[in-house]
C-alpha cells in the first residue's frame, strides 16, 4: 500500500518527464494582435486585455503643427521614471517642429519621430499590441499615434529599487562589500564591471509563462565549457514553469540530482564570487528579482571555498579551509560518533574520559540515541525560530534556548552534559559551511540512525555509501566530487595554493583557454631580475 503509493508517484514523475521531452517546442504563442489605425480601437483592446487595471496609465496628448496629431503614451504607473518620461518623450515630441512643412506620411511618421524627435537612447518600433503590452509591463512606455499601424517603445524603466548593499548571507572582513540586488540589470552590470572583457557574453531569456521573468545567462566565451552552457540552455528550455520568483525555482528545475541531499547548482550573493566563478569557466544565471545568482557547474569543494580564501594569504587560507572540512565532518558525524562510542565501543574511550561520561550519564532516563535526537531536534527548532524572527527577538530566543534550556535539562538530569556539548559543537560546526547546511542536517540524522543500529560499523558503511553517492553525482557533466577523490584539480581543493601557482583553470569546467597565466612566476624581490638567479654566475 505504502509501496504502491511510491510507485505511483515515481511513475507519474517519469510520465511527466516523458511528456516534457515529447513536447519540446510546444509553447503556445498568443496570436499577435496588430496595431490598428484607429487609436481608440487600440486603446479599447489594451484596456480589455489588461482588464482596466488601475495602474495602467494612458496619457493622451497632441503634437505637431497646430497640435494636429493625436498621440497617446501607455505605461504602468510606478514602473516608469517620470522624469525620463517627460524629458525624453513628452517635451521633445510636443516641441518638435517639422523641418520642412511637408507632413510625413502616416507610416513614415513613426520612424521620423524615432529618429528626429525623441531624446531617448533605447527606442524600438513595434507592430503588435502584445509587444506593446509586454513592454509596458516590464516598465517601458509605448507611444501610439493616431493613424499609424506601428508604435514606439521607449525605455523608461525606473522603479524603486534597493541600493547595492553589503550582502547578508556572505560577509567578509577583507574583500568587496557590494552585493547583488533584486534588479537584473544592476546585477549584470556588477558582474560586467568586474570582468570588462569582450568575451563576456550575456544572453537574455524570458521564463515563466505567467511571471515572464527576465533571466540572463552569463559566461566567458572561449573559457567556458560550451557543453555546460548547452546543457544549461537545454534544461532551461525544457522547463515548463509558470512562475519564477527566485533563482531557487530555476535551480530546482535544472539540477542534476533532485533527490540528493547535495545541491548541484551553486549560488552566491556576491559579484566578486560570481565573477571568479565565471573566470574559472562557469556559467552564471542571473534572475530578475533576486540577489542570488546561480552558477553551474557546482563542485562539492565550492561549498568550502569562500571569497576571502583568495584575499587572504594562502597559508592561513589553507588552514581555515581545512578547518572547514573538519567542521563539516563534525557536523555530519559528530553525534553519531558520540553514540557509537558511548553505546557500542566503550573500549575506545580513554579510561578517565569514560568515567567522566559514565558519571554524567548516570541517572539519565533515555538511551543515548534518543537523548541525542532530542537535543538535535531542540536545536533545529531553536535555529528555525531564530532565523524567522526579527533579529533582536531571534537573539533572545537563542539565548533562552541554548543557555537556559540546555543548562536546565542537564541539571534536572534529563540529558547528560556530554550530549549537550556534542550537539552544541555539531551545531556550531555546521555554520562554518553554510552552503552545505541542508545536507549536513539531513545526513547527520541518517548517520545517527546507522550508528544506533550498527555502531562504528554502521558509521563506516554510511560514510562509504556517502562517498559512493558523492562520487556518482555530476553537475552538468562535471564530476561533483572533483578535487577530492580525483587526482586532479588539486591546487585549489583541500589546500589553496598561492595564486601564482594556479596557472591552469580547473579541468572540465573550463575548456579552450584553460591557462590562466603562461608562466609560473613567484613574487620577485625588488630590483631582482630573472637573470640574477643564474646559478652559473656568468655575468661578470
Amino acid at each position: 500500500m505504502f509501496f504502491e503509493f511510491f510507485v505511483r508517484k515515481i511513475k507519474f514523475l517519469n510520465h511527466y518527464r516523458n511528456y516534457q521531452q515529447n513536447n519540446t517546442e510546444n509553447t503556445i504563442k498568443e496570436r499577435p494582435i496588430k496595431i490598428k489605425k484607429q487609436l481608440r480601437e487600440n486603446l479599447d483592446s489594451l484596456k480589455t486585455i489588461l482588464g482596466n487595471s488601475s495602474d495602467l496609465k494612458i496619457h493622451p496628448f497632441r503634437f505637431g503643427a497646430n497640435s494636429s496629431i493625436a498621440g497617446v503614451l501607455v505605461f504602468i504607473d510606478g514602473l516608469v521614471d517620470n522624469a525620463t518620461l517627460t524629458n525624453a518623450i513628452l517635451r521633445p515630441v510636443q516641441s518638435w517642429q517639422f523641418k520642412d512643412n511637408s507632413f510625413p506620411l502616416e507610416d513614415e511618421l513613426i520612424s521620423v519621430l524615432e529618429q528626429e524627435a525623441l531624446c531617448a537612447g533605447d527606442v524600438e518600433i513595434v507592430k503588435s499590441l502584445s509587444d506593446v503590452i509586454s513592454n509596458c509591463l516590464s516598465g517601458n512606455t509605448a507611444l501610439l499615434v493616431d493613424g499609424c499601424v506601428s508604435g514606439l517603445i521607449v525605455n523608461t524603466k525606473g522603479w524603486d529599487k534597493r541600493n547595492v548593499t553589503e550582502p547578508n548571507s556572505e560577509t567578509v572582513v577583507r574583500g568587496p562589500r557590494e552585493g547583488f540586488t533584486e534588479n537584473l540589470r544592476t546585477n549584470t552590470a556588477l558582474i560586467r564591471r568586474k570582468i570588462s572583457n569582450k568575451q563576456l557574453r550575456v544572453e537574455n531569456m524570458i521564463l515563466g509563462q505567467k511571471t515572464r521573468t527576465n533571466v540572463c545567462l552569463m559566461y566567458l566565451s572561449g573559457v567556458v565549457n560550451m557543453k555546460v552552457v548547452e546543457a544549461v540552455k537545454y534544461r532551461i528550455k525544457h522547463m515548463d514553469v509558470d512562475s519564477i520568483l527566485e533563482s531557487g525555482y530555476i535551480e530546482e528545475y535544472i539540477e542534476d540530482a533532485p533527490f540528493s541531499p547535495f545541491g548541484t547548482v551553486g549560488y552566491s550573493e556576491k559579484p566578486d564570487v560570481v565573477a571568479a566563478r565565471i573566470l574559472e569557466g562557469r556559467t552564471a544565471i542571473v534572475v530578475d528579482g533576486t540577489p542570488f545568482v546561480l552558477t553551474a557547474p557546482m563542485l562539492f569543494i565550492e561549498s568550502f571555498q569562500t571569497a576571502e580564501d583568495y584575499y587572504m594569504r594562502p597559508l592561513y587560507a589553507s588552514i581555515t579551509r581545512i578547518l572547514r572540512f573538519i567542521a563539516y565532518f563534525i557536523t555530519v558525524f559528530g553525534p553519531s560518533i558520540y553514540i557509537a562510542l558511548t553505546a557500542f565501543h566503550q573500549e575506545l574511550l580513554p579510561t578517565t574520559l569514560l568515567f567522566t561520561i559514565a558519571n554524567a550519564r548516570e541517572g539519565t532516563p533515555f538511551p543515548v540515541f534518543i537523548e541525542a535526537m532530542i537535543m538535535i531536534f531542540a536545536f533545529e527548532i531553536l535555529r528555525e525560530g531564530g532565523i524567522r524572527l526579527p533579529r533582536p527577538v531571534g537573539q533572545a530566543v537563542s539565548i533562552v534556548g541554548a543557555l537556559i534550556m540546555g543548562d536546565a535539562a542537564v541539571s534536572a538530569g534529563l540529558v547528560g552534559a556530554p550530549v549537550v556539548i556534542t550537539v552544541a559543537i555539531t551545531a556550531v560546526a555546521g555554520f562554518l559551511v553554510p552552503m552545505q547546511n541542508e545536507s549536513g542536517s539531513i545526513l547527520r540524522v541518517v548517520m545517527m540512525v546507522l550508528a544506533s543500529f550498527l555502531g562504528w560499523y554502521g558509521i563506516s558503511m554510511g560514510f562509504l555509501a556517502l562517498l559512493i553517492h558523492l562520487g556518482s553525482l555530476t553537475s552538468f557533466g562535471v564530476p561533483y566530487f572533483d578535487g577530492f577523490a580525483w587526482t586532479r584539480n588539486l591546487q585549489d581543493s583541500v589546500v589553496r595554493m598561492p595564486l601564482w601557482t594556479m596557472v591552469k583553470r580547473p579541468k572540465d569546467i573550463a575548456q579552450g583557454d584553460t591557462t590562466r597565466t603562461h608562466f609560473f612566476i613567484p613574487p620577485l624581490r625588488p630590483y631582482e631580475t630573472q637573470d640574477e638567479d643564474d646559478p652559473e654566475g656568468e655575468r661578470q
Binding site: I10, L13, Q346, T351, L354, F355, E362, V368, S452, F453
Partner: protein
Amino acid sequence: MIPRRFRLLAVFLLSLLLMIFLSGCWDEHELHTLFIVTGVALDESDDPEKMDITVQIAKSQSKSSRSGDTEPQENYIILLKNKSGTMMEGLMEFNRDSSRTLMLNHNQVLLFGSSLAKQGIKDHIDLFMRDQDSRMEVLMIVVDGRGEEALAAKLSQDRISGMFISRVIRTMSSVSSYYQVRMLDFVSRLLEETTSPVVPIVTVTKKGKMEEIKITGMAVFKGDKMIDRLSNDETLGYIWAMGDVKHCNVVTSTEVGKAVFQIIKLDCKRDVKIRQDGGIGVKLSVNTTLSVGEISGFSETTSEELMPYLVKIAQEEIKRKIMNSFETARRLNADIYGFGTSVYRKYPKEWKSMKDSWDEIFSDIELNVQVKAHIPVTGQITQPLGIKEE
C-alpha cells in the same frame, strides 16, 4: 526509465527492511547497564579446586548538583567476589548476580595473590588473552598477601586502587620500561621459554584509617610459577642491567660522605660470548650519565679530587647492585635477564643444543660488568658547603 527508478527504490526498501528486521543492536550496551571493571584479583582459595576472584568496579557517581550535598561519598568502588574453578565461570557468575554487565575493556590491573602466583598462573590468564574484551596492555601485578586486599584498599591519593596502581606503575615506567609488565610482556617472556618473567610486587600496609600500596620489589617467576622475589635494591640492579633507565637515583655512602646521584641516562650494552669450555660469558658495558643530586660530607676532599671520586663511587655502586641482583638470579636459577634469548639471537645454531640444558649453563654464566659514568652537571651549586678551597 521506469525500471531504474524502480530499482533504486527497491534497493532502498531492501536496506530498510534489513535495517528493521535484521539489526537488533546486538552490540549496543548503554553505559548505565555496565560495570566498568578497573581491577581483577585472583587469590588462592580454601578449596584447592577453585580460586577466589575479586572484581573491582568503579562506581559512577550520579550527578547531584544540589549545593547542600557536600558530604563525601564513601563508596567509590564496588567489590564483587566469588569462588570458582575457572575465570570464565567466575565472570559468568558475576554477570548473573549483578544488576549490570561487567565490562573488562578498561581493566587496569590483573592482581595475583602471592600464594596463587606460587602455584602457577598460566591457566588463569588464557581468558584475558583470548577474550576480545580485554587488552594485552593490562598490567600484571603480584600482591604480597592477598590480591583482594589491594583492591579493597582505601587510599588517600586515589579513590580507586586499581587506577592508583596502574598510575604508579606508569609513572615508574618512565624510569625503566621494565617496571611495566603488561600481559604482552609476560606472555612474550613465557614464550621465550628460558627467560623468567619478572612482575612487580606490591604490598598493602595499614596507615591509620587508610591503607597504603607500595611497590616492594619484583616477583621472579620460573615458568609461570612465582619462586621468589627481588628486593627493591635488587630490582634496581636488575633494571640497570637491562639498560635504558632514566631518572633513577643512585645512593652511595662511604665513610667520607654521602652522595646521591640521579641517572640522566643509562645504557647497557650486552655482549654474549660462548666460552672455550662451552659455557657462556656475558659482558655488560654500562654507560651512564649522572647528575649530582645531593652531597653531604666530603669535607676532607678537595674540589679537584671530588669529581673523580664521585664518579668512582657511583660506578662501584652501580656495579655492586648489578652483581648483587645477578647473584640472586643465579641462586634462584632464573634467567630474568633473557640472556638465553641473547644467545639465541647471536648463535641460533648453537642454541639448539644449549636450550635444554640452559638451567645448568645459566648457573655457570660468567658475568663481567663494566661501568662508565659521566657527571657533567653538578646541580645549581658547584660545591657542597664546607669544601676546602685549594
